[in-house]
């Protein structure tokens, strides 16, 4: 089992290197850099002065060298460079924003799980009924509503007209968390609800449930004790993916609600052409997402013994004596 974990962690390294390099290259290609900004439109500098500026920001070295130094700084010192605008360390800025993003991510996913799993189970059990059709339409609607629009609509009605909630910004209270959590959580609920339903539908027609019923188990036990456990894998995948993405920073929701999370940090720095922050945040985002997905993969092993067997590969215990 541990061998598998280590293997997966090692596998993560080339992925992170690959993506961070990709991000680095992309940001490099982006038009306009710090020197252009510093120069401004109407200053006239000599070639030498321009070259000095480049050297000052370390931009005169070739790409690969810069990348290598950058990653070295990151891995050894947690140094992701400094903001062009404020000069503050990128890592510090990122860590400042993490609590807000964390709150929003957990709240949204919680909302999603609490609503959609029972909803999905109900839909699967009463397939074709009015409740099921209503739920199906509801989830479809939830998937179709653009996040940012929903956020704005909620703000218009509940914050501006009714004054029930603030229009944004995390002030530490539960009230300020509600509208953003609902906004981000709606899409998650819709997606998870559908997955739960289809996963349960697959499981519910399996023969082994018949065996459980023939034992004299109540329908509740059949569904919640047996069917759900078997349906968990796809459900866990979706929850994990949603959590991973949300922890990486839900850019749109944070922008609409002026939520001080890592997603908004990203957007602000893109608009401000603050490349070090953009690069740093993107790379950290990828790392966070990859680690959460790895955790989800390991969670599968806890739920499904067949997968656990694959991970542990204990061929010794494969006795198939008739």
């Amino acid at each position: 089992m541990w061998r598998y974990v280590v293997k997966r962690l090692l596998y993560l390294i080339p992925v992170i290197i690959g993506i961070s390099f990709l991000v680095f290259v992309l940001m490099d290609i982006a038009p306009g850099d710090i020197v252009d900004m510093k120069i401004g439109e109407d200053s006239v500098l000599t070639e030498e002065q321009i070259a000095d500026l480049y050297a000052q920001y370390g931009l005169d070295k070739p790409l690969l060298v810069r990348y290598f130094n950058y990653m070295k700084g990151f891995v050894l010192h947690g140094d992701l460079g400094k903001s062009y605008t404020t000069g503050e360390p990128v890592m510090k800025l990122y860590l400042q924003r993490v609590p807000s993003t964390l709150k929003l991510a957990l709240a949204s996913v919680l909302v999603s799980v609490v609503i959609s799993i029972p909803l999905g189970i109900m839909s699967a059990m009463r397939r074709g009924s009015l409740a099921d059709n209503a739920a199906s339409f509801g989830t479809l609607l939830g998937l179709s509503i653009p996040n940012f629009w929903l956020g704005l609509v909620l703000i218009i009605y509940f914050a501006l007209k009714l004054h029930w909630f603030p229009t944004g910004d995390d002030d530490g209270t539960l009230k300020s968390l509600i509208l953003p959590a609902i906004t981000h959580g709606t899409g998650l609920t819709a997606s998870l609800g559908r997955t739960t339903r289809s996963s349960m539908l697959d499981v519910v027609r399996q023969d082994y449930l018949r065996t459980v019923r023939a034992k004299g188990a109540s329908e509740r036990r059949v569904i919640w004790g047996h069917a759900l456990k078997n349906a968990m894998i796809p459900i866990l995948t979706v929850v994990g993916t949603q959590l991973a993405a949300a922890l990486g920073g839900s850019t749109i929701t944070e922008t609409v609600f002026s939520w001080p999370g890592t997603g908004r940090l990203l957007m602000d720095s893109i608009n401000g052409r603050d490349t070090p922050i953009v690069t740093g945040v993107l790379i950290l985002k990828v790392i966070v997402i990859s680690l959460v997905m790895l955790a989800v993969d390991l969670l599968y092993a806890a739920v499904d013994p067949r997968i656990r067997a694959q991970y542990t590969k204990s061929a010794k215990r494969r006795r198939k004596v008739s």
Partner: protein, 339 residues
């Protein structure tokens, strides 16, 4: 629980009267089981024989009240298990009956076990559902049960995918027999297994039947298994029982043309022929059964009377019944003679 049940048990374990079940699928009505009646006493084994679609499984599921409600509907009939009325039983009552008074094992062992629980846990669940025991006690009994079906008890913590088909079926049997039911219904339990394993599993079932003094219904299309395991036989066709009697009655004093056809289609090692003789034609479409006897279109003895009305069950002897209109004519007999 189980001990009290055993002494308070009636001799008549099962009584089915005029059972009729239909399925409604996409606007069509499938007449799966029609006016089926039979009884079973403690220690008896009834073989329920017939081709696929004859209504055997549906009959069995009705006894456990496990017919899926859409699309299945139990139109009429009475079923009594150990003196308890099934038709009017509530869900709670059925849950007590299933597994404790009557158990069922199904055809395909590969899909009958829950993949995410150990076999020990699955057997123990039977105990936990019906007896007031602790987890540890239930697990202990589960291990004992495993040994009874011939599996080493250390394997209780293994998962179904680690067992072969034959062993899985043994586990299924262990689950079914855990609470010592009065009646075991086995729906083609060996069809999906190799012939050699088949023999082992059947032997196991016969032993356990004797050990627990259980009544058993063996659903099969294999007459060889019937001869080996059963002492009574009921032959089903298109949802009806066409012939029923002791093993001796049905095998050696066959009366119904369909039963005759079944025996004729068996290859006989002592009388090798160039061509086997199957029964011509096919079973009728269950959504569109003929007005009279369902077998008439394929029957070489069929008369106008056969096609006009449903055959009435008639007693040939205290143990032997046949439902064939042709016998209303004096002196009629099928070709297959008494042996």
């Amino acid at each position: 629980m189980t001990e009290e049940k055993k002494t308070g048990r009636t001799d008549r374990v099962l009584e089915v009267k005029d059972l009729t079940v239909r399925y409604e699928v996409d606007g069509d009505v499938v007449r799966a089981v029609n006016d089926v009646s039979f009884t079973l006493d403690a220690g008896q084994t009834l073989g329920l024989v017939g081709e696929t679609g004859a209504g055997k499984t549906t009959t069995a599921l009705s006894i456990l009240k496990l017919i899926p409600d859409p699309p299945g509907i139990v139109e009429s009939g009475e079923i009594t298990v150990c003196g308890q009325d099934i038709m009017s039983a509530t869900a709670q009552q059925m849950q007590k009956i299933r597994g404790a008074d009557v158990s069922m094992i199904f055809q395909d062992p590969m899909t009958s076990l829950d993949p995410v629980f150990t076999v020990g846990q699955q057997i123990a669940e039977s105990y936990l559902l019906h007896a007031d025991v602790s987890q540890a006690e239930a697990m202990e009994k589960a291990c004992e049960m495993l040994e009874t079906v011939g599996i080493p008890r250390e394997r209780a913590k293994e998962f179904p995918h680690q067992f072969s088909g034959g062993m899985k079926q043994r586990v299924v049997i262990a689950i079914a027999l855990a609470c010592n039911p009065a009646l075991l219904i086995a729906d083609e339990p060996t069809t999906a297994l190799d012939v050699t394993i088949q023999a082992q599993v059947l032997e196991l079932m016969k032993d356990l039947k004797r050990q627990y003094n259980m009544a058993m219904i063996m659903i099969t299309h294999d007459l060889g298994i019937v001869a080996d395991v059963c002492d009574r036989v009921a032959v089903m066709y298109a949802g009806r029982i066409v012939e029923m009697g002791t093993l001796e009655d049905v095998f050696n004093h066959t009366r119904h043309p369909y039963t005759e056809g079944l025996f004729n289609s068996l290859p006989n090692i002592n009388a090798r022929v160039d061509e086997l003789t199957p029964i011509p034609g096919q079973m009728p479409d269950p959504t569109n059964l003929p007005k009279g006897c369902a077998f008439a279109p394929r029957c070489r003895y069929a008369t106008e009377a056969c096609r006009a009305k449903l055959p009435v069950p008639r007693r040939i002897s205290p143990t032997h019944m046949v439902a064939c209109t042709a016998y209303e004519q004096e002196g009629f007999h099928i070709e297959r003679r008494d042996r």
